[in-house]
């Protein structure tokens, strides 16, 4: 399963944190810092997989990440996931964000952190892939927004 989703910018500021197991706020910050520390040491030509303990309860985790402009999107996964598939999944999530915000940038994520989380909830559910079809993700998200407005 996917243990955590961490979106952090080039300067180490969190833009989205999601942990699928119980971690206190302090622990979450620690893991985020650790992941950021590892990521910034990487060169862009290196692999997008990092194995090693990032401070989660499960020590056998891998960090799969993609670097988009100013943001690192990192998924921390356990052994049951395929790293290449997770790479695709990250891309799906980013594309869904892109559709929702019309060419997404870091600022969108800063001011719409809640929306970014709603979209993530459509891609992942409890740490497992829920939807891998971008259209499906976006349409559900749009429908929910409509529903929110209709009632509100």
């Amino acid at each position: 399963m996917i243990e955590a989703v961490i979106v952090v910018n080039n300067h180490g500021l969190p833009r989205l944190l999601r942990f699928y197991e119980d971690y206190t706020t302090a622990e979450q910050q620690k893991v985020m810092g650790r992941v950021y520390e590892i990521l910034t040491k990487r060169k862009d030509t290196s692999c997008n997989f990092l194995s090693g303990d990032v401070g989660l309860k499960n020590p056998n985790t891998r960090v799969i990440f993609r670097h988009y402009a100013t943001l690192y999107f990192a998924f921390v996964i356990d052994e049951s996931e395929s790293p290449l598939a997770i790479m695709d999944l990250i891309h799906i999530y980013v594309e869904a964000l892109d559709l929702a915000f019309q060419s997404v940038c870091e600022l969108d994520l800063i001011f719409n952190a809640d929306k970014a989380n709603f979209i993530l909830d459509e891609v992942l559910c409890g740490g497992l892939e829920a939807e891998t079809d971008i259209k499906q993700v976006t349409s559900v998200y749009e429908a929910m927004n409509l529903h929110e407005k209709g009632k509100g």
Partner: protein, 874 residues
């Protein structure tokens, strides 16, 4: 009231004083969540949730989050459910269970959706028990969206309430068989994968259904999971791999998705290694990913890394399969990614065989040289352009796209290490041509002594001592190594290269008669050069000693002019060493000074006994015996005795203070011929030999601590004396002239023992053949697995590179093929034959060469006093 965007803007506007600002904001939000207005509450929660991401705990707001999810407005619910997974503790779970149930069973699929998502994150055991039934009820919902979320949430609830597996698993199984929606099916497979990985053998019943999905699903996402699932089940169902071969091969050939390709390869190399035809296709695909040509000249680092990872698993079981892709692997060594290089090198290390070792090493060395050249040219161009900007630019460029210089250096170390350790592994099992090995070692020694100098030194000495056929070649290369050697000054490399330097010096001294006469002066001048003084003292001592040995050995070979030059030079340089702060170097230098006054042929005799390899374990087999009491040695008594006679006192002074060496009378005296003796130290007068080796006494007390040492010691007396088996050392050390012979032999032995102790780890012993008396079968160390010569596989086939014709080692003379190792069937037989022949040969050689009764052999073969280090070190 500030909204969330206001807060975010505020934080951005208060750079430097964010803490303070956020503190105020939290206070404000706390007030807001207590407000009666649900909107205000919602804003407060929203802000707290945002601050939680920045590291500010919001657990205190849990109760208000429960209020929020009870709101009838979807907007509030949505925010409430999102916040719930960040702040819910058990208390709030209890409070909210009813609300969760209400929303899960809501007729609106989105309300149900957000509730299920939140439930998956926050559920505790009680909540799971309470809500499982409702969630399972949703498995039959008409909406795929609900079914999908219900399946995933059920898994999370199951984790908290494992008892529920009895109801959840049948429901999942039904979904697996009946599901038509691809994304729901994917969720089911996803959940099953998690469950199966926890306890595979409980889920073998799933195989038929999964097999159908494998054949019919068109979703790569689902296929990846199914392949992984079936792979895990392969370990528990032996018939499964055969069944899977067809479908997997088909998918491998048809799919364009790399992720699916890799999942199949991963399963094939971890769970289906027995399946060769599938493995073959996998290897082909892997080779494509590894070789740069396939993707337009540039490898995808991720694919390459994963491929190497998979290939290393194949290589562990089928090295030959991986060996077929040697070229691609070697190409990976120049990759821009450090990890890929390391991974490739790892695989290459496991591929060394007798047949390909020369090729692989040649390629690796070429690679090391190449990167070295590249470094140098880069450094040159850096200095040439001098423009600071350009320099920075190129530095940056390299950092981004290549390896940093640190990584480059670390990697080169790894390559050199890989070459040395693999060539020498398993007692030189892979080496059929020791001349080649010597060549490689000296080559690496010349260029990379700073990295692995000590390892190279160990192996160089090991091979030179144990393989007599390559000794002359080793000496030849050592000469060039020594003369070309660059001593670098940084700390680590200093000790590394110094170790190599001293071993090279030792080799030259030990096998000095192999040195080309024309080079003698050069060698001696290097050994005595002033820069030696900056080396560690053990190296200095080795060099001084080696210089003397080279001179004495070559005395009969070179013209007297050359010899005189050499001696003159040694004398002129000795003063540096005589005044050394180290007693070891000083001692050695003084001794050399004295011995140089002697007839060099006489000196040569001191070094004459041949060194033979003896297993390090051998000496331990010799039992301690005799009456030798090593505990009360004689030092005080001896000293008293010395004080008794004038000459001896002089000698004592000599060893105590270097100044006495200037007394030529004494030095002459030392070698006064009183009674010729039949052993190799025959020129040494009995009495004098006592005196001169008086210092031995200093170290004697150490000897008893080594059982082997003590024993050899004892035996030595026995044989050398040729009469009293029970001669005790103390007797031998008495002031009795008639014991002088024994004494001198004893001295020789002590040296041997000391050496032995020093080198016992290397399987190279120099010990007397005394053991042969008690264990004739073990004369040459046969039958001991630690000995090179007992191991037929390690038996060298020696080629003399210099002349390009084979010097066939004694065994190979008769049976050239013996080292081919092509027919493993004949192997045992050959082994036996060879063993026999070798033994015969060695025995024969000893007889003809020495033409002496076996009894005297111990003396002859007694370890050489190649280094006085240990003897005189105190």
């Amino acid at each position: 009231m500030k909204t969330l965007p206001d807060l975010i803007k505020g934080i951005r506007a208060h750079r430097g004083s964010e803490e303070e600002y956020i503190g105020k904001a939290i206070q404000e939000a706390k007030d807001e969540i207590r407000s009666l207005s649900i909107d205000e509450k919602c804003t407060g929660i929203q802000k707290l949730w945002y601050l939680q991401m920045l590291g500010y705990d919001m657990e205190f707001a849990g109760f208000h989050v429960v209020e929020l999810i009870s709101s009838t407005q979807f907007r509030h619910k949505r925010i409430g459910y999102l916040a719930s997974s960040f702040c819910f503790t058990d208390d709030f779970c209890i409070l909210s269970t009813a609300q969760f149930r209400k929303d899960i069973t809501s007729r609106n699929q989105y309300e149900c959706g957000v509730a299920l998502s939140a439930l998956a994150s926050v559920a505790n055991a009680d909540m799971s028990q309470a809500l499982m039934e409702d969630v399972l009820g949703l498995f039959n919902s008409s909406r795929p969206y609900i079914r999908k979320k219900a399946v995933l949430t059920a898994y999370r609830l199951l984790l908290k309430d494992t008892e529920a597996i009895r109801t959840v698993f049948p429901a999942l199984k039904r979904r697996l068989d009946a599901e038509t929606d691809p994304s729901v099916l994917h969720s089911v497979v996803n959940v099953l994968t998690e469950l199966v990985l926890k306890e595979p053998k409980n889920f073998l019943g799933l195989v038929p259904s999964l097999f159908t999905i494998l054949n019919h699903s068109s979703s790569n996402w689902t296929l990846i999971k199914v392949v992984r699932l079936l792979g895990v089940l392969c370990d528990h169902e032996p018939r499964l791999p055969g069944k899977l071969e067809g479908p997997l091969t088909q998918h491998l050939q048809n799919t364009a998705a790399k992720s699916l390709t890799f999942e199949i390869i991963n399963v094939a190399v971890t769970h289906m290694l027995g399946n060769k035809s599938l493995l073959k296709i996998c290897t082909e695909r892997l080779a494509e990913f590894i070789s740069p040509s396939s993707s337009g000249g540039k490898r995808d680092a991720n694919l390459c890394y994963l491929s190497l990872d998979a290939l290393s698993k194949i290589a562990a079981k089928y090295p030959r399969v991986a060996a077929a892709h040697n070229a691609a692997l070697l190409a990976c060594l120049t990759d821009d990614v450090y990890l890929i290089r390391i991974k490739a090198l790892d695989i290459i290390s496991s591929l060394f065989t007798r047949k390909n070792i020369k090729d692989i090493v040649a390629r690796l060395l070429q690679f090391v040289d190449e990167t070295k050249m590249k470094d140098e040219t880069a450094a040159e161009s850096d200095t040439a352009t001098e423009g600071k900007k350009k320099k920075e630019k190129s530095k940056k460029k390299r950092k981004k796209h290549g390896l940093t210089s640190e990584e480059e250096r670390a990697f080169k170390c790894k390559v050199v290490d890989c070459v040395v350790s693999n060539s020498c592994k398993e007692n030189y099992n892979l080496i059929t041509d020791f001349a080649w090995l010597i060549e490689i070692l000296t080559k690496l020694g010349a260029t990379h002594s700073s990295i692995t100098g000590s390892t190279i030194a160990t192996h160089l000495r090991d091979v030179a001592v144990r393989v007599p056929e390559v000794q002359s070649y080793a000496v030849e290369l050592s000469v060039s190594l020594l003369t070309s050697s660059r001593l670098s000054s940084d700390a680590v490399s200093f000790t590394e290269s110094a170790t190599l330097f001293s071993v090279t010096a030792w080799l030259l001294g030990e096998y000095a008669n192999e040195i080309d006469s024309a080079l003698v002066f050069d060698v001696v001048s290097v050994l005595m050069s002033q820069c030696i003084l900056s080396l560690p003292t053990h190296t200095q001592a080795a060099c001084v000693n080696a210089a003397l040995k080279v001179c004495s050995r070559q005395a009969s070979k070179v013209t007297s002019d050359v010899l005189d030059d050499c001696i003159k030079m040694i004398r002129s340089r000795l003063s540096f060493f005589v005044s050394s702060a180290s007693s070891r170097v000083q001692e050695r230098a003084v001794l050399v000074d004295v011995l140089l006054n002697e007839d060099l042929a006489t000196v040569d005799d001191l070094f004459a006994p041949e060194l033979v390899p003896v297993s390090s374990k051998k000496q331990k087999k010799v039992k301690l015996g005799g009456e030798g009491n090593f505990e009360d040695l004689i030092v005080p008594i001896e000293l008293q005795d010395w004080e008794g006679t004038g000459k001896e006192k002089e000698a004592a002074d000599f060893f105590g203070h270097a100044k006495t060496t200037k007394d030529p009378a004494f030095a002459d005296d030392v070698f006064d011929d009183e009674e010729p003796q039949d052993n190799r130290v025959k020129k040494t007068s009995g009495k004098r030999s006592d005196d001169i080796f008086m210092l031995d006494d200093d170290i004697v007390p150490e000897v008893p601590k080594q059982p082997s040492g003590g024993d050899a010691f004892d035996l030595e007396f026995d044989i050398g004396g040729g009469e009293t088996k029970q001669t005790s050392p103390s007797q031998a050390f008495g002031r009795n002239n008639s014991k002088a012979k024994q004494l001198s032999q004893a001295r020789v032995t002590i040296r041997g023992i000391e050496e032995e102790d020093e080198e016992s780890e290397e399987d190279v012993g120099r010990s007397s053949h005394a053991h042969s008396k008690t264990e004739p079968d073990d004369l040459f160390g046969f039958g001991d697995e630690g000995d090179l010569f007992t191991d037929s596989e390690a038996q060298p086939k020696v080629t003399e590179h210099k002349h390009h014709d084979e010097i066939v080692s004694p065994i190979a003379k008769d049976e050239d093929d013996i080292f081919g190792f092509d027919e493993p069937a004949d192997f045992e037989e050959q082994k036996q034959k060879k063993k026999h022949k070798h033994r015969k040969h060695r025995k024969h050689r000893h007889k003809t060469e020495e033409d002496e009764p076996v009894k005297t052999e111990p003396v002859k073969a007694a370890p050489k006093k190649d280094e006085f280090d240990d003897l005189f070190d105190f």
